[in-house]
Symmetry: C2
Subunit: 249 residues, 2 copies
């Protein structure tokens, strides 16, 4: 089975205009990594119906899971549910179970407008979990999460285990050589180990710790392949240039 | 003349896998805001030629300016120049002026591979600026910036004034009312002032400062329109609920 991929869609004028700093994508990057899910896209878009529709349509057709952040609420700028519905050629309908939760929560203080929170795409799935008063709403592979970081986190953490995959294996090699001097070796190993993802990250000035200039990363879900690629690369590199080799997981 | 728009394209496996936290998009959000440029998209993609080509093609056709971060360097995972060239149906060629800079910089230590840094899309423009040893390379409306934050910043700051527009005007209203109770008022003002961008941002719990629950933002490049929309909204809101009204710029 091919490995699960993911995209994050952040919906919010407040992020693009710098009023609020994104925390949700940053949180999810770490979560998906730990879960072994390969994150392939992060997209930040304005609170616009067509932008949401277009992004959801494209991302949901391309990646295993799509997580949206923001644009859920009762005001005019909360357009995520409508955008997700349109992306799947369906409509927004009032969900009886969600309406009941809202009526129970607000009681006599309920404003008609609060019920807009119960309007979700037809065919939406409600993912209930312990500790969640309000379920996570999904349509097919699109999970609609709220923009407020504390609630975003709580909701994702409640459903995270359903996304777990085999973990990534990573080895890092730190060298004092410059990129120009090792590029040909990297080409050779990258070609020989096309299933191992290899990155090269230079420092502007030698790192205080051992004077390394380039951090090389080798990564895959196959521990043995990462080890073999790292061995192959270490054989090609000047041994005197290698400051350290670290393996995680 | 319609106002300038922008997109940021972050190219880097290291961001998507959580090895490095993005600083460049975050920096540019603030810069573009201060310059009065309307940022419409942030996209983070892997170090893949087709991904870069596709993203650059779409973003450059849609927004006034596109700023890319990362993927410039001499190693196998540095694919931005090739991707940008492909997006504009052109090729990468060695630029004599850039080659001369590299030969001057490295002198006898030059490795053939270092010259890959002089390979840029045909028809690329070199934006030279005081204090920059290496010019900013652009192709049409796409500015190719390096991933290392210190260099990214230095290069952008050297060319930033060419992007300056009229400033944004922002007024914020803080109210103790809940979103459900004010949503209809927001609808009305948003409809009447369709040229003013209006946002509504709730707190989970009342804010310690004055107990406000919702921050309302009204924004446009026309100061008078922001003021008129804010007045219209304040007239509709319960006066006792308004904690404060702030105007910036």
């Amino acid at each position: 089975m091919p490995d699960a991929t993911a995209a994050i869609l952040i919906i919010g004028d407040e992020i693009l205009s710098g009023k609020t700093r994104d925390e949700n994508a940053q949180f999810l990057i770490g979560e998906l990594r730990e879960l072994g899910v390969s994150l392939r896209r992060i997209l930040v878009i304005p609170d616009r119906l067509e932008a949401i529709e277009g992004a959801v349509r494209e991302l949901s057709a391309t990646y295993t899971h799509v997580f949206t952040s923001g644009g859920v609420g009762p005001t005019h700028d909360d357009l995520t549910m409508a955008g997700v519905a349109r992306a799947f050629d369906t409509e927004v309908v009032r969900h009886p179970e969600l309406e009941a939760i809202l009526r129970g929560y607000y009681g006599e203080k309920l404003e008609e407008r609060n019920l807009r929170m119960a309007d979700v795409p037809a065919r939406a799935t409600l993912h209930r979990a312990e500790g969640l008063a309000w379920p996570v709403i999904a349509l097919e592979n699109v999970y609609v999460l709220p923009g407020i970081p504390a609630i975003f986190k709580k909701k994702f953490l409640a459903i995270r285990e359903r996304f777990r995959q085999q973990p990534f294996h990573l080895t890092c090699i730190y060298t004092r050589d410059e990129e120009g001097r090792i590029a040909a070796h990297l080409d050779r190993v990258a070609e020989q180990f096309s299933d191992v993802s290899i990155g090269s990250y230079p420092q502007i000035v030698p790192h205080p710790e051992g004077g390394w200039r380039v951090k090389l990363t080798l990564e895959s879900k196959e521990r043995a392949r990462v080890a073999a690629a790292a061995d192959a690369l270490c054989t090609l590199l000047d041994p005197a240039s290698i400051v350290k080799v670290d393996s995680a997981q």
